[in-house]
C-alpha cells in the first residue's frame, strides 16, 4: 500500500496531450448537460428574450423611421431587426449575465474542491462554459430569430466570408465574455462577496456590449474608444455587426482580430488573477 499516491495514471503516455483533450471534452459535456436539465428556465428565458426583442425592435425601427434616410447608426430597417433578434438569441450564448458560480463557491469555501483538482480552475470553468454556450446555441438562438423573421423583414448575409467569420466571432465572444465574468467573480477572493462587482458588470456589459442599442449610435470617438480600449463590444456588437455586414470585409476581419486579441488578454488576466488569489486565499467555511 506504500505505493499509493494521488497521481492520475496517464491515459496514453505516448500522446501526452490526449489526457488534457479528453478531460477538457468531458468538462464541456458536463457543462452542456447541466444546462440541458434546466428546461423550465430555458422556456421562461426564451419568452423573455422574445418580449424584449419586440420592445427593442419597435423602438429602433421608430428611430430609423424618424431619420432622413431611414437609417439609424448606418443600419437600415432590415439590419436593425436582425441586430435585435439575433442579439436576443446570442445574448444567452455569450452568457453575459447570471454567472455567479465561482464567486458563490469562493464565498462558501467550496472553491477548495476546485483547487485540489489536477485541472486549473480557469481551464475547468472555461470548458464548462463552452458547454453552456453550446447548449444555448442549440436551444436559445432559433426561437427569437424565428419569431423576429415572422414579424419583421430581416437581412440575410450576402458574402460567403460572413458565415465562417460569424462563427469565429461568436466563439471569441463566448471566450471573451468568460474571461470578463471570471475576473468579476474572482473579486470575491478579496471582497468575500461579489454581488457589488456582479451588479456593476451586469449593468456595464449590457449597455457597452451593444444590447440596449447598437454602439454605432454613439459619437464616433466614443465608439472607437470602446472597441479599442475595452473587450465589451466584442461580446455582442462585433458578432452582430459581422452577421449583418455593417462594414466592408477587411474591416470586419479586423474587428474579429481585435476581438481575438481581447479574448486572449482576458483569459491571460483571469489566469494571472487566479494565481495571485491562490497565494493569499483563506478558505471560508467550517
Amino acid at each position: 500500500m506504500d505505493a499509493l499516491d494521488a497521481s492520475v495514471p496517464a491515459i496514453s503516455p505516448s500522446r501526452p496531450f490526449r489526457a488534457s483533450v479528453v478531460t477538457f471534452r468531458a468538462l464541456v459535456g458536463s457543462g452542456f448537460r447541466r444546462y440541458a436539465t434546466y428546461r423550465q428556465a430555458t422556456v421562461a428565458g426564451t419568452f423573455t428574450n422574445i418580449v424584449f426583442g419586440f420592445l427593442r425592435c419597435y423602438v429602433l425601427l421608430a428611430v430609423a423611421a424618424g431619420t432622413a434616410g431611414a437609417m439609424a447608426g448606418g443600419y437600415d430597417a432590415r439590419q436593425l431587426a436582425t441586430f435585435v433578434w439575433v442579439g436576443q438569441g446570442l445574448l444567452n450564448v455569450v452568457g453575459i449575465w447570471g454567472w455567479a458560480d465561482l464567486s458563490e463557491r469562493i464565498r462558501t469555501g467550496d472553491i477548495v474542491a476546485d483547487l485540489v483538482r489536477p485541472v486549473s480552475p480557469v481551464t475547468a470553468y472555461l470548458a464548462a462554459d463552452l458547454g453552456r454556450g453550446a447548449h444555448a446555441l442549440l436551444t436559445r438562438v432559433a426561437p427569437p430569430v424565428l419569431v423576429g423573421a415572422l414579424f419583421f423583414p430581416m437581412a440575410t448575409p450576402s458574402r460567403w466570408q460572413t458565415v465562417p467569420l460569424f462563427a469565429a466571432s461568436v466563439l471569441l465572444a463566448v471566450v471573451g465574455s468568460f474571461g470578463c465574468r471570471y475576473l468579476v467573480n474572482a473579486t470575491a477572493y478579496w471582497l468575500a462577496d461579489a454581488r457589488g462587482p456582479l451588479a456593476f458588470w451586469t449593468l456595464g456589459s449590457g449597455v457597452l456590449a451593444g444590447l440596449y442599442f447598437p454602439l454605432r449610435l454613439l459619437p464616433d470617438w466614443l465608439a472607437v474608444t470602446l472597441w479599442v480600449a475595452t473587450p465589451l463590444p466584442g461580446l455582442l456588437q462585433t458578432p452582430l455587426d459581422v452577421l449583418i455586414e455593417r462594414d466592408p470585409p477587411a474591416l470586419q476581419a479586423g474587428l474579429v482580430a481585435l476581438q481575438a486579441v481581447w479574448a486572449v488578454i482576458m483569459l491571460a488576466l483571469a489566469g494571472w488573477v487566479q494565481r495571485r488569489a491562490e497565494r493569499k486565499l483563506v478558505v471560508q467555511g467550517g
Partner: protein
C-alpha cells in the same frame, strides 16, 4: 405594536447583513443608481439619431421616461425583491415564512428590502425633475395633482406586476426570467411614447395589461397634448384606477399561489 416590532427586527437584520461586506455593498449602491441613469441615457442616445421618434420630441419623451423611472424605482425598492420568491419556493424556505404569525407578503418584502437600490430613488426623482424643467407645462390644479398621483400610481402598478410575476413561481418553479418580460419589459415599454410600437403589441401591453396608463397617458395630459392614438384628454387621470385594478388582480393571484404552495425537501 408587537407586529411592528417584529417587522422592524426583520428589517434590522437585513440592514446588518447588507452592510457586512462593505466594499461590495458600496459598489452595488453605485451600480444600481447608474442602472437607472443608463436607461435614461439610452433615450438621449436614440434621440441623437432622430429628432422625432414616434411623433414625439426628446423633451416630451423624457416626461414619460421620468414618470416611469421614478415609479419603477419606487416599486423596485419596496416590492422588487419579491422576485426572490422563486428561491424560497424551490428550496422550501417559504415554510419558515409561512409558520410565523405574520402576513407572508410583507415579511418577504421587509426581510429582503433591497437597500442597495436606495440611490436609484434619487436618480429616478431627478430624471422626473429634469423632464419637468425641459417642458413648458401649463400648470392647473388638476395637473399638479396628476404630477403626484401618476408616479405613485405607476409605482403601485409596477408593484402589482412584480407580485404577479413572482407568484408564477408557485406554479412554475423555474419561472424567474418569465416575469422579467413584464417587470423590466414593462419599464422599457413605458419609457418611450407608445406610438412607436406595432399595433397588436401596443394593444396588448398598453391597454390590455394597462401599461399605457403608467406614463404615456399622464404625460400627455401634463403636456396638454392630444393623444394621437385617440384616447380622450382625461385618460391621464385614470392611472390610480388602473393601479387599483392591478393590485386587486395581484392580490387574488398571490392568495391562490400561497394556497397552491407545496413544500419541498426530504
Amino acid at each position: 405594536m408587537g407586529e411592528l416590532r417584529a417587522y422592524a427586527a426583520l428589517f434590522g437584520g437585513r440592514l446588518r447583513s447588507a452592510t457586512a461586506y462593505r466594499t461590495s455593498f458600496a459598489v452595488e449602491l453605485v451600480s444600481n443608481a447608474a442602472g437607472t441613469a443608463i436607461d435614461v441615457a439610452t433615450v438621449f442616445v436614440l434621440y441623437r439619431a432622430a429628432s422625432v421618434i414616434g411623433g414625439f420630441t426628446l423633451d416630451e419623451a423624457l416626461m414619460m421616461t421620468g414618470i416611469t423611472a421614478f415609479a419603477f424605482v419606487l416599486a423596485d425598492l419596496t416590492v422588487g425583491n419579491i422576485d426572490q420568491l422563486e428561491t424560497y419556493v424551490r428550496t422550501g424556505r417559504l415554510d419558515a415564512v409561512l409558520v410565523r404569525p405574520l402576513a407572508v407578503l410583507p415579511q418577504l418584502m421587509l426581510a429582503d428590502l433591497p437597500l442597495r437600490k436606495l440611490m436609484r430613488l434619487a436618480v429616478g426623482l431627478s430624471v422626473l425633475g429634469i423632464a419637468l424643467g425641459r417642458n413648458d407645462i401649463d400648470w392647473t390644479p388638476g395637473r399638479a395633482l396628476l404630477l403626484v398621483t401618476a408616479p405613485i400610481s405607476g409605482a403601485v402598478f409596477f408593484g402589482a406586476i412584480f407580485v404577479m410575476s413572482a407568484a408564477t413561481a408557485f406554479w412554475w418553479v423555474d419561472s424567474g426570467k418569465l416575469g422579467h418580460g413584464f417587470t423590466y419589459g414593462g419599464r422599457d415599454f413605458t419609457s418611450y411614447p407608445i406610438t412607436v410600437y406595432g399595433s397588436w403589441f401596443r394593444t396588448l401591453f398598453a391597454y390590455a395589461l394597462g401599461f399605457g396608463f403608467v406614463s404615456y397617458q399622464p404625460a400627455l395630459t401634463l403636456l396638454g397634448r392630444a393623444d394621437p392614438l385617440g384616447l380622450p384628454d382625461w385618460s391621464g387621470y385614470l392611472s390610480p384606477l388602473v393601479a387599483l385594478v392591478a393590485v386587486g388582480v395581484a392580490a387574488v393571484v398571490w392568495r391562490l399561489g400561497v394556497r397552491h404552495y407545496r413544500s419541498t425537501g426530504s
